[in-house]
């Protein structure tokens, strides 16, 4: 059992969730209620990772982030480390590939909020920010919880794009799914079985926890 890989998988899932949520909420809100030119273009771009093979996305990211490319050099200058074969690199890849899983459920939840409920908030004197805090986000909460569950599960299981972008560097980019693959390649099927079981159990617990949280949050919804 590779505990370093397990910890790295958790770290990647955690940071992916933390960083993707604000972006996904803003994008989902825009796509749910915004009326502007190029909306379907943005929608298609967000959905693209859903249909694109992870290896294809990984290949493009690898090319773009390589210090040999202009963008890669710029990012290396900003982050201090090259984004290929490093944890920040697989985090960026994870954020991109998870975007549709985060945006879709939140967008559906925002779309389900009746427009006149927001208008009622405005007429009740609530600023757009207060309306978001007290009305929109609580109503979209089930969607946000679904997004967290999906992103968690998807990140823990992500393989292709991480292998392309990060390779398999212990402690840096070798997440649990890659450690399982390496074990099988080395005929250590015992290790692979234990790690698979751990990943399965953890994914189940994470999703169950998140759903319990959703129910609790809905039950005691109240104004602060």
């Amino acid at each position: 059992m590779d505990w370093t890989a397990f910890a790295l998988s958790l770290k990647l899932a955690f940071w992916t969730c933390v960083l993707i949520l604000p972006v996904a909420i803003a994008l989902a809100r825009l796509l749910a209620w915004g009326r502007f030119r190029g909306k379907s273009v943005i929608e298609s771009l967000v959905m693209l990772p859903l249909v694109l093979p992870p290896t294809v996305l990984g290949f493009y990211l690898l090319s773009a982030f390589s210090p040999a490319s202009g963008l890669g050099a710029l990012l290396k200058w900003i982050f201090g480390v090259p984004l290929v074969f490093s944890f920040p690199g697989i985090l960026v890849a994870s954020l991109l590939i998870n975007l549709p899983f985060a945006v879709q459920p939140i967008q559906r939840a925002f779309e389900a909020v009746a427009p006149n409920v927001r208008e009622a908030a405005f007429v009740s004197g609530l600023s757009p920010l207060a309306t978001m805090r007290f009305v929109e986000l609580p109503l979209a909460w089930p969607g946000i919880v679904s997004a967290i569950a999906l992103v968690m599960a998807h990140t823990l299981g992500e393989f292709g794009v991480i292998l392309m972008m990060g390779g398999s560097i212990p402690g840096e980019t070798r997440v649990l799914s890659i450690a399982i693959y390496d074990s099988v390649q080395a005929f250590h099927s015992g290790d692979a079985a234990v790690m698979s079981a751990v990943l399965l159990a953890f994914s189940l617990v994470a999703i169950a926890l998140v759903h319990v949280l959703a129910r609790v949050r809905r039950a005691d919804a109240h104004v602060a």
Binding site: A114, N116, V117, E119, A120, A121, F122, V123, S124, G125, L126, S127, A130, F134, V135, P138, L139, R218, A221, H222, V223
Partner: protein
């Protein structure tokens, strides 16, 4: 929290996409009903007053505050207008209890006064005991009361009600109407009620403004609008059925009635208004200004004879339709208990007297 009572004046115009040409005012403590068919633009007008819709041009002024001025341009956001709005489907916050629905609209008051004020508002609309319930656990009538309490929570300068009784059953509607009638006596602010139901407007409003296709056609007291509509269109929109065409034979002057020619009859008219002799006019007589007459009186004193072709029973009242010679139908009402007493039934021959003071002339269309 006392404040100078302010009146509201609204003037809106735009060619499209929703054509608007409305103009009305509402004084403090006054209830003005905007009446018109579905799609007449009533809700758009209400949204413009609330700040949720930006019209092309016009002015909305409440007291000394200009809320909208297309020329300046001024567009005060809804948050800064202090308007109470009861939405047609109430638009309550579905995740919040009745109390929190009201509290959320009271951000201008600090706790714990806010909760106490919200509670007393819920008491005022007879909802004590329901504070903790979310909208999905309230009946239609209770939701309407929460919406009303929330609309009053901001201590609004204007109260707007968008078809507030359309989503509840008839029994609830009657009791809510009575409650609104008593509540409004304690409110010294302009109240605008949007409805397609003229009876509702007649029962509750001080004045009625008739709107069709975004245009104000007439504003007046309920009696003005019902008995003296400005045009045949207003008469039809307000549910008048006894609308006919005639020619003026004589104009009224100094207490002497005028006269019109209609369908082979000469009818006395108490007031012919601005009509001229020989002018073609549209005229109406409200059903309550038509009475049964003796058969012998046909041809004299505003009496017309025909055959009873329809009886519609509305509880204690009936509406009867009589087919006259040339195919015109005249409707009138009578108490249901009189119907049996007089032995009236379909195909009975009837004579009807049209009361001269109820006949109202309007300019003929085109």
């Amino acid at each position: 929290m006392s404040r100078e009572p302010a009146s509201l004046s609204v003037r809106l115009s735009q060619p499209g996409p929703i054509p608007l040409a409305v103009d009305f005012a509402c004084g403090p403590g006054e209830l003005l009903a905007l009446v018109g068919p579905s799609g007449a633009g009533k809700t758009t007008v209400l949204c413009a007053v609330a700040g949720l819709y930006r019209p092309g041009a016009g002015r909305i002024v409440c007291g000394s505050d200009t809320w909208f001025d297309g020329a300046a341009p001024v567009m005060v956001p809804p948050q800064a207008r202090a308007v109470g709005l009861v939405f047609q489907d109430y638009a309550l916050f579905p995740h919040l209890s009745a109390l929190d629905n009201v509290r959320l609209a009271m951000h201008h008051i600090a706790e714990p006064a806010r909760t106490a004020a919200a509670q007393s508002l819920l008491q005022r609309v007879h909802l004590d005991g329901f504070e903790a319930r979310t909208p999905d656990r309230l009946s239609g009538g209770q939701r309407q009361r929460v919406a009303l309490a929330r609309a009053l929570a901001r201590d609004p300068k204007v109260l707007l009600l968008d078809e507030p009784f359309s989503a509840v059953d008839r029994m609830t509607r009657e009791s809510l109407k009575e409650e609104l009638a008593s509540l409004r006596r304690s409110l010294a602010i302009p109240i605008i009620l949007v409805t397609h139901d003229l009876e509702e407007a007649q029962a509750l409003a001080d004045r009625i403004s008739v709107i069709d296709r975004g245009r104000t056609l007439q504003t007046g007291t309920p009696d003005d609008v019902r008995l003296r509509p400005a045009s045949g269109v207003v008469a039809r929109l307000t549910g008048q059925t006894n609308i006919f065409a005639g020619v003026v034979e004589r104009v009224s002057s100094e207490g002497k009635p005028g006269r019109i020619r209609w369908d082979g009859h000469s009818l006395d008219v108490s007031d012919t208004g601005a009509a001229k002799v020989g002018q073609r006019v549209t005229w109406l007589v409200p059903p309550d200004y038509v009475a049964l007459a003796d058969a012998a009186a046909d041809g004299e004193g505003n009496v017309a004879t025909g055959m009873l072709v329809e009886i519609v029973r509305l509880g204690e009242r009936c509406v009867l339709a009589v087919q006259l010679g040339a195919g015109e139908r005249l409707r009138f009402t009578m108490a249901a208990r009189d119907l049996g007493g007089r032995g009236l039934q379909i195909r009975s021959a009837l004579s009807l007297r049209l009361l001269p003071e109820g006949i109202h002339l309007m300019p003929s269309a085109r």
